[in-house]
Subunit: 208 residues, 2 copies
DNA sequence: TTATTTATGTGTCAATCGTTACAGATATAA
DNA sequence: TTATATCTGTAACGATTGACACATAAATAA
C-alpha cells in the first residue's frame, strides 16, 4: 500500500537540504514560503503535501541539521580520548563548521528563533531545548573525565559545560559578523586557556 | 520659529523608551508597526512625524539603548582600576544587565538583527559595527594594561578582547534561554579563569 | 479498460505588512 | 479675528504573508 498515485517529481531529501539552508541563513520567521519554494524548486501545495507546512518543514530541517551538521562537531568531539580533547575538538570543529564558505555562517540552532512571537513560539522552545541538551551532553562527558581522574571532583561541571557552550554560542554571533576560521580558533584557544584553573581548582587555591 | 502649530501630545522620550523595549524583545523585523504604536500609545502618522519611520525609529532606539543600557556596563567597567577589574566588571555588569526582570533579557545590539534581509540590511550593518566597536574599546583598555605592566607585552590583545566579547555575546543567548543572574555570573567567573594564562603567556611556557 | 490514489500548477483566500492621504484639531503669529 | 503651521485620528493604500481550493496529471490496483 505504498506507491500508489502519482509519484513525487522531486527529491524530498534534496529539497529538505535546501530548505535547511534557507532557514539557516534567514531564520525561521525571516524565511517566507516564497523563499522556500524558490530554493526547493517546488510550488507551495507540493511543500504542504510533502512536509506538512512551514513549521513542520522547519522541524524536519532541524533534524536534518542535527544529523548532518551537528554530527561534524559532536561526532568528532565524542570520539576524543580525554575530556580536555573533547572540549578542544568541540570548539575547533565549531570554528570550522561555522565558517565553511558553502554554508551559512554560525549555527542554525542558535540563530533561527531568538525572539518570542506567536508564530514561532513552539519552534523557539524546541531550539531552547536543543541548546539545553548541548549543555547536558558536554556535562556528561566531563563527568566521565572526573571518573577517569582527569578532572578534580571539586570542579563545578555544570558551570564548565555552560561556559563552553556559551562560548560556542558567542562564536555564532562572531561568525555572522564575518569572523574567519582562524579568528574563531583564536577565540577557542583563549577559552581553552581556562581549562586548568577550572578543572583543577585546588591547584589554584594552593598556589595562593 | 520653533513652537508653532499644534504641540505634540505625547512624551517623545518616553515613547522612544517604549519603542526600544519592543525592539529589544522582538528584534527589528519581528517588531511590527502595530506593536510599536500599541506600546508607544500613538498612531502611526504621529510615529512617522516624530521619528521618521520604523528604521529611523530603530536607529534612535539604538542610540537610546547605548546611552542608557550600555552605560550600565561600560560606564562601570571603564571606571575600574586595573585591566583585569575592567573585564571582571564588564562581565559581572553584563550578568546583571541581561537578567533584570523589568527588561527584556540579553542585549539589543546582539539580538536585534542577525539575519540578512532586504528590509533590515542597513540596520544589521549598523549593529555589526556596534559589536566591532565593543572589541575595539576593550582592546584599547587592555593596551593600557600592557603599558601599566599588568599584562605581558607578548599577549594577543586582539584575541583576548574578541574572546571576552564573544563570551558576552554568548551570555545574550543564555539569558534568552532563561539563565538567571547567578548562572551568568558562574559563566563569567569561568571565563575570567582564563585571564592569567592569557595575559601572562610566558609564565605558562616557563611552567612546562 | 476503469477506478482509485497521490502529486502538481494555477490561482486565490483573508490577514497583515509598512506607509501615507486626508480632514479635522490645536497651537502661535500677524 | 484671520492666516499659518504642526500634530492627531481614521481610513486606506499596494504589497506580501502563510495557507489552501480546485482541476488536471500520472501513477497503481482491479
Amino acid at each position: 500500500m505504498a506507491d500508489r498515485g502519482r509519484p513525487r517529481s522531486f527529491d524530498k531529501d534534496a529539497a529538505l537540504a535546501r530548505a535547511m539552508d534557507v532557514f539557516w541563513l534567514k531564520g525561521y520567521e525571516g524565511t517566507s514560503m516564497a523563499d522556500l519554494t524558490a530554493a526547493m524548486g517546488i510550488a507551495s501545495p507540493s511543500l504542504y503535501a510533502a512536509f506538512g507546512g512551514k513549521e513542520e518543514l522547519f522541524r524536519q530541517a532541524l533534524d536534518y541539521y542535527a544529523k548532518h551538521e551537528g554530527e561534524l562537531i559532536w561526532g568528532a568531539a565524542l570520539r576524543a580520548e580525554t575530556a580536555y580533547e573533547t572540549v578542544e575538538t568541540f570548539l575547533m570543529q565549531t570554528a570550522r563548521a561555522f565558517t565553511r564558505r558553502s554554508r551559512p555562517s554560525g549555527c542554525l540552532v542558535v540563530l533561527s528563533a531568538l525572539h518570542p512571537g506567536e508564530h514561532s513560539e513552539t519552534v523557539r522552545k524546541e531550539l531552547v531545548e536543543h541548546r539545553a541538551q548541548s549543555v547536558k551532553d558536554l556535562r556528561e562527558r566531563l563527568r566521565q573525565g572526573v571518573a577517569r581522574g582527569e578532572i578534580s571532583p571539586a570542579a563545578d561541571l555544570d558551570a564548565i559545560a555552560k561556559y563552553y557552550v556559551t562560548v560556542q554560542q558567542g562564536m555564532s554571533i562572531q561568525a555572522r559578523d564575518g569572523a574567519t576560521r582562524q579568528q574563531l580558533e583564536l577565540i577557542a584557544r583563549a577559552a581553552l586557556a581556562a581549562w586548568r584553573p577550572l578543572t583543577a581548582p585546588e591547584e589554584i587555591a594552593a598556589a595562593r
